[in-house]
Symmetry: C2
Subunit: 232 residues, 2 copies
């Protein structure tokens, strides 16, 4: 690890000269100044991947949704809140990188309007309808944007699923034109949101399938090795 850290510092290592763009964490879609729709992502898996790529010599930018305190050293971090913010920051960068890894749990819907002041509860206790509209699909839009480029970045997606995990992930890989997708069952014990461990299935465009498990750090190192250092 010391050798790799030194290598990273001097721009050496197997990923030296590579530019990696990552998204991590959740997004928040506010309906007024204090209420939002979100998900339990803590950004741990994405940050572990970012540090693993950095340690192997890559230049890493993370477009990061709202998370608690994370280790930021050695990374270029762009903080964002909403899916719209994340899409804008990704689309302005993805054309110039070698690899784009989309780990963020982007909200798929946002409230159609955002009230300028906190909505008071009022006396009525009858049900209310909140109108939701779709957010941009950051990974699909990035994929479309780079599709015609002479040197297209490697595109890696993540799929957090609760059922039919591999089938949903394979479908997402094809639909979004990805090189690989990392799928996990977020309802499985020791996997998914907020845990320190993970168990994932990696599917590649060529049809290969790999299973990885361990601490998020171990899984991150294995993923970077598998996808970027010695891709099959």
């Amino acid at each position: 690890a010391i050798v790799q850290a030194v290598a990273a510092r001097f721009g050496a290592g197997p990923l030296a000269g590579k530019r990696v763009l990552l998204t991590a964490g959740p997004t928040r879609e506010f309906l007024d100044p204090v209420r939002f729709i979100s998900n339990p992502s803590t950004g741990k898996m994405g940050m572990a991947l970012a540090h693993a790529a950095r340690t192997l010599g890559a230049e890493v930018t993370v477009v990061l949704g709202p998370v608690g305190t994370v280790e930021r050293g050695g990374l270029d971090i762009v903080d964002v809140v909403s899916a719209d913010d994340m899409a804008r920051e990704v689309l302005s960068r993805v054309g110039t990188v070698d690899v784009f890894i989309a780990t963020a749990a982007v909200s798929d819907w946002r409230p159609e309007t955002r009230a300028p002041q906190k909505v008071k509860k009022g006396a009525s206790t009858s049900p209310e309808a909140l109108t939701l509209v779709r957010t941009p699909d950051v990974l699909a839009e990035a994929s479309r944007q780079v599709a015609g480029q002479p040197k297209r970045p490697v595109l890696v997606g993540f799929a957090a699923e609760t059922e039919r995990v591999v089938a949903h992930a394979r479908d997402k890989l094809e639909r979004k034109g990805l090189d690989a997708i990392v799928a996990n069952d977020v309802t499985a014990p020791g996997a998914g949101f907020g845990t320190d461990t993970n168990r994932v299935t990696v599917l590649t465009r060529s049809g290969a399938q790999h299973e990885l498990q361990g601490s998020k750090r171990e899984v991150a190192q294995a993923l970077i090795e598998l996808l970027l250092v010695s891709p099959s």
Copy 2:
């Protein structure tokens, strides 16, 4: 501080023998296994109050919504997720305490139904309606429950507002039958959600009004002193 810590350990201090119940953090109201409605509360102010009361000798129970890593030493912590969970844990305890301080940012609405599996986006991009219903008002229900008790606990509320802060807080104090309410403008710089500092206005049933500001720890100590040690 050392003297106070020692005092707390041996059950001494101005709040020795007092039982304090607190709520802290946000709640999460899930619409499927991975998506929820919530707010940016980090539980910092509530946890600072809990530790301040403990340091002065109180026995402190915190009903805590989902937050990151917090200092749990010396406190009895009950972890919860939703407003329904929080209401249940509070209502089973509030009848036997001396003080109830409701700092949690409880979601006012929850999705009417919770899908058993992650809702897939599907092909349609047209707006969708999410039906919301009201959650229990934890503080109001606690207040009603103890209203007839011979020795009613001191009830302290918090009001996170974005406009007409004092008026909204005064209304809440009266409507919920509180002894005091701590109001802050969560849109003001250096106050409210996720910050390390706070600036609050304390209103009491007797009509007194106090302004406090500083780090959340300093504000917490001043609040405990003002409300519990030497109430005016």
